[in-house]
């Protein structure tokens, strides 16, 4: 059924292209369309609001700054608003189809006033769906940052429903989901590892980031393949008016970016690079023999765009990042992401906008060991995952009531689980794991329907087909007791790349909004999402050498249904947005591991995997103020995240490691004057669930900890809390060069938050057993960063 629907929808997508391309304006009605841009840089503005008076119709620009609105002939006033920019007003007389491109000026000194009246960015009050949060590059830069370096992922952690298992851990968890359940896309290309230095920094260079949008529920139908969230990161296009150089020098790394026009108004580029020097700082703490150690990361982000003509624009963007760890001549580890995206924006007509993205993404790592003594030994290990994708997507501004988005998405996965080569005294052995292949095909259709002045509906559907492909060894296992390695039954060597196993999924995505009274809305939504690739990790935090692995004949794709209901209001008396969102998530076929799972270069790794179920639910309350001298937000989340897997924790529901019952975040930013601004961030949350022993078994002199209840995660680490502050001083503002100093203190009161509690035998008194608390950040961390721009 779904299979036929799929075929049908792919074909109809192509037909629609043809049909809609030929559609003309309804009689007596004309279309106003155009791009909204930043005057100073020529960058398009995403989610800028265009309000048409007297009709009161409001539309927003898409990810490429484009808008389109259809009106009866007549005179109108067009008001364009965007956070941090002066509102722009235009009188138009509509007698025929008209293009109105608007270049907006930054708010500057009179910002406070203008912003109060003019701001209307992507807020909960003007989106239909729930669980959507947007951060602009400027907001990210205002939040006090670890080591003074603004960071996309760290900024996300101040939002409700987004948590980590601790400092230094990689990735993030959304509403009780795993790290690998977040679809992180940078200019449409998926990013597999979002962390540098394991988890202390994220791979996105804030100097190259334009906009960050996170969807915690109500995923638009165009996104698929992950079940917890979508993090859509859009890179800057680069200034097409003049050359700019931005940079910064901080404790940990330095940044430099250059942008400018290739051809004024039509084409621009941006190149941004970072390089850390933590290894230089760490040197005094290393052994004499390890002084030539290396430990650094770097990344390079680049993008060019070219407006071919009024109807066609092309973009090319890429990212390359590496983390390198080396110890003397003996050890070298490297890992990182590579992505590339080519995009083509095409306007068929004023109402029909097509974007086609073609992308590539690779995550790879290599490990090399060499002995430095008389026994000549070595070990090399490499592994990677590569993804190729194409996504044409069409937006049809059908009428003022309907905006329809449709498209297809084809993704091809190539998994290289690993190759190991060991050598010793002149001998060499090699082990090569079979490559695995997967293909994802999806078609989506979504209508945003303004039903009347009170009701809005965003109804979408995504049809997915996932195929685990051949040209590999397909393993079949016999079933056995839960939580015990499955015995191998037989191996099929499939020589062709035909599907070994395929699945079809139907994913409805529905959001409904009702305007209770002016600026007060009730919202409800339902989202289904499925996932076909899984990060194999059974440690507290994912590591850079964890493998991505596809759904196979032995691992079912996971599926999540999420229901949410909420309320949002823009207060009249104070410039505050208050929102309450509740959610319930049901997760099926989540990956789990047998107790002694062997995830290393293991051809039969599927024998060690289990599937279980999960559920999470909670309420997120947020009060936000985004205008004036004082800005910031305070949010509180009350939630639960549970798992149940046969063979684990007496087959009962247990708290997942991502369960944080209470989380409170407050972020306050204060602009004193043109010179000084301050910000602070405080976070308080329940400790992560943990398992503790009650008994000790003395076997062969080893005091083995044992938990006689067999219950998992029955205890909690102490509550986590931390306060960070920062102050920004605008330095001397020369005609050409602008500079600022950012002073920060992370963990101001030096609280030693527990990352984990583990158990050990005292080395000098073996009969004495100890509980040890590990704090990754055990003190306050001051930082100074100097930023410049010319």
């Amino acid at each position: 059924m779904i299979r036929q629907l799929m075929r049908f929808s792919v074909i109809s997508f192509l037909q629609m292209l043809l049909i809609m391309g030929g559609l003309q304006a309804q009689t007596g009605k004309f279309t106003v369309n155009g791009y909204i841009k930043d005057e100073s840089s020529g960058e398009v503005l995403i989610n800028a609001t265009i309000t048409i008076q007297p009709s009161g119709i409001a539309v927003m620009t898409n990810s490429y700054g484009y808008y389109s609105v259809t009106l009866p002939a007549g005179k109108y006033t067009m008001l364009v608003t965007y956070s941090g920019f002066k509102a722009s007003q235009k009188e138009i007389e509509l007698k025929g189809n008209t293009t109105v491109d608007v270049s907006m000026a930054t708010a500057g000194k009179d910002m406070q006033e203008v912003v109060i009246t003019g701001e209307k960015k992507l807020r909960r009050t003007n989106t239909v769906g729930m669980g959507i949060q947007q951060l602009s590059a400027s907001t990210i830069k205002k939040i006090p940052a670890f080591m003074g370096e603004p960071d996309v992922v760290k900024a996300l952690l101040t939002l409700p429903g987004v948590t980590t298992v601790g400092e230094g851990s990689a990735g993030f968890n959304v509403r009780g989901g795993n790290v690998d359940e977040n679809l992180i896309i940078m200019d449409e290309a998926p990013v597999y590892n979002s962390s540098h230095l394991l988890g202390f920094f994220s791979v996105f260079n804030p100097d190259a980031v334009k906009n960050v949008t996170m969807y915690k529920s109500a995923f638009p139908a165009e996104y698929g393949g992950r079940t917890s969230s979508v993090l859509d990161i859009r890179m800057k296009e680069g200034n097409n008016q003049k050359y700019n150089v931005n940079g910064g020098i901080g404790n940990v790394f330095s940044r430099l970016s250059v942008e400018g026009p290739l051809q004024k108004d039509r084409s621009s580029f941006v190149v941004a690079a970072r390089r850390s020097y933590i290894d230089v700082l760490a040197k005094p703490f290393l052994k004499e023999s390890d002084r030539n150690s290396t430990m650094y990361f770097y990344d390079l982000t680049a993008k060019v765009n070219y407006e071919l003509n009024e109807k066609n624009t092309i973009y090319l963007s890429g990212y390359f990042g590496r983390d390198v760890f080396g110890f003397g001549n003996q050890v070298k580890f490297k890992w990182g992401n590579t992505t590339g995206t080519f995009r083509w924006n095409h306007l068929f007509n004023r109402k029909l906008f097509l974007n086609t993205s073609v992308y590539y993404s690779k995550y790879d790592y290599s490990l090399k060991f060499k002995s430095d003594d008389d026994v000549q030994q070595g070990y090399d290990w490499t592994s990677d995952i590569q993804t190729y994708g194409i996504k044409p997507s069409l937006t049809w501004y059908a009428s003022n009531k309907h905006t329809i988005k449709t498209g297809v998405n084809l993704i091809y996965y190539d998994f290289f689980p690993g190759k190991g080569v060991a050598s010793s005294e002149g001998n060499k052995n090699e082990i090569l794991l079979k490559r695995r292949y997967g293909a994802e095909t999806a078609a989506f259709l979504e209508d945003t329907w303004k039903m009347n002045s009170k009701w809005q509906l965003q109804a979408g559907v995504r049809l997915n087909r996932y195929a685990y492909l051949g040209n590999t060894s397909v393993f079949y296992f016999r079933d056995t007791t839960a939580n015990v390695r499955k015995p191998l039954d037989h191996v099929d060597n499939v020589t062709s790349k035909s599907p070994v196993k395929e699945w079809y999924f139907f994913e409805p995505r529905i959001s409904l909004r009702y305007e209770l009274q002016k600026n007060t809305f009730l919202k409800a939504g339902y989202t289904r999402a499925t996932q076909y690739i899984h990060l194999l990790t059974n440690s507290a935090s994912p590591t850079p050498v964890d493998l991505y692995f596809p759904s196979t004949n032995n691992i079912k794709p996971s599926l999540t249904d999420q229901y949410s209901v909420g309320f949002v209001t823009q207060l009249n008396k104070w410039p505050l947005e208050v929102s309450v969102e509740t959610f319930y998530k049901k997760m099926q076929d989540l990956l789990d591991y047998i107790d002694n799972a062997n995830l290393d270069l293991n051809q039969l790794v599927e024998a060690d995997l289990l599937t279980g179920e999960g559920k999470s639910y909670g309420v997120e309350v947020e009060v936000k103020k985004e205008t004036g001298k004082w800005q910031g937000w305070i949010n509180y989340t009350l939630s639960r995240s549970l798992r149940r897997t046969a063979g684990i924790s007496n087959n009962d529901w247990y708290l997942s490691r991502y369960d944080r019952t209470h989380v409170l975040n407050t972020c306050v930013m204060y602009t004193l004057n043109d010179k000084w601004s301050f910000s602070s961030n405080f976070t308080l949350g329940s400790g992560t669930p943990s398992t503790f022993p009650d008994s000790r078994l003395d076997i062969q002199g080893m005091g083995i900890p044992y938990n006689s209840t067999n219950k998992r995660n029955d205890f909690r680490l102490p509550a986590y809390h931390r306060l960070d502050v920062s102050a920004t001083m605008q330095g001397r503002q020369g005609k050409k060069m602008k500079q600022e100093w950012v002073f920060g203190i992370y963990n101001l009161y030096a609280h030693q938050n527990a990352y984990s509690i583990y158990f050990q035998t005292n080395k000098d008194e073996p009969e004495k057993k100890e509980a040890v608390r590990l704090s990754i950040i055990g003190s306050l961390i001051p930082s100074v960063t100097w930023n410049f721009k010319f």
Binding site: G168, S169, G199, F200, D279, K287, S289, D290, M295, F333, L367, S371, D373, V375, G420, A422, S424, E425, N427, E430, V484, S539, A540, T543, V545, D595, D600, T691, F692, D698, I699, M702, I704, P705, Y706, N707, S708, T709, N710, R712, Q752, Y755, S756, F759, Q760, T761, N762, K763, D764, P766, E767, K768, K769, V772, R773, L774, S775, I776, G778, S779
Partner: protein, 289 residues
């Protein structure tokens, strides 16, 4: 392998962040429920073999565990069809094999325990071992975290063919050196896929018999004992080792290591925890001079 690598990165990174810290804390742990357990490892060495039958104590309790004395314990050499009844004396169950040994390489053994009218059994295979090439000792000056002292190195080659599993333990002046962790090796490395078959043991084992925080002093007698273990025992020990050193950024969820001693009656109410392992042993001793 990967775990070791990751642990290594984690240790260095945490060290380098110089902000991290560990602290021994007071933790109110729940009470144990007196789980009966056995400590039963049989070797291929002559003399007295011992099996202990005890009751679990609270994790932090420093007292010796309570002894269970009213069980009948027998080890059977299934391959040779011989039985060895163990008798209780001095707090443990013993069998004196005299100048011969219970354990023979290549044989399969069964442990049988009768207790409170219920029957418990476990089996293991006694696997071969390799031979130690040499133990060397060298004086080194302080180097970073490594203190000044004598560093002993272990040179061994893996036995050629098949995947061999080793459990390496280090003794200082007659007692287990807790500054050196338990070391487990497959084919002289961490790889149980034949990748390093017949190779020299890799540096983590070569250097692993000396703790950097407490190297040896002149006069110390260092003994390295290598036990050849079955794959099952190796996996049991791997999990035990994980539980004993569950530190760092990438620690794992604590879990109970599955055991191989089973109640023979499906309706049996009593549970005894225990791993029955049979091992071949080789050792080398070096007096530091």
């Amino acid at each position: 392998m990967r775990n070791k690598v990751v642990k290594y990165i984690s240790v260095v990174l945490i060290g380098a962040s110089f902000a991290s810290c560990t602290k021994v804390i007071n933790l109110d742990l729940p009470k144990a429920d007196d789980l009966p357990y056995v400590d039963a490892w049989i070797t291929d060495q002559p003399g007295v073999q011992t099996i202990k039958f005890l009751k679990a104590v609270d994790y932090m309790n420093r007292n010796a565990p309570e002894v269970v004395s009213n069980a009948q314990i027998t080890v059977t050499d299934v391959t040779a069809g011989k039985s060895y009844p163990f008798t209780f004396s001095n707090g443990a169950y013993n069998y004196d094999a005299g100048s011969s040994s219970i354990g023979v390489i290549g044989h399969t053994y069964k442990l049988s325990i009768t207790w409170n009218g219920e029957q418990f059994e476990a089996t293991d295979d006694l696997k071969r071992n390799t031979k130690i090439d040499s133990l060397t000792s060298e004086f080194k000056k302080k180097d970073g975290e490594d203190k000044e002292g004598y560093y002993v190195k272990l040179y061994v080659h893996d036995a050629i063919g098949a995947v061999d599993y080793y459990w390496i333990r280090t003794y200082k002046n007659g007692s287990l050196n807790y500054h050196v962790g338990e070391m487990l090796s497959a084919d002289g490395s961490f790889s149980d896929d034949g990748l390093t078959d017949g190779y020299a043991f890799i540096p983590p084992f070569r250097d692993g018999v000396t703790p950097g925080d407490q190297p040896y002093e002149k006069g110390d007698v260092v003994k390295v004992l290598i036990r050849g273990v079955s794959k099952n025992s190796y996996e049991f020990l791997q999990q035990v080792q994980q539980q004993l050193t569950n530190d760092g950024l990438f620690g794992k969820v604590m879990h109970n290591v599955p055991a191989n001693l089973n109640n023979q009656s499906t309706t049996g109410k009593t549970k005894i925890y225990g791993w029955f392992g049979t091992v071949s042993e080789i050792s080398a001793t070096k007096k530091v001079e």
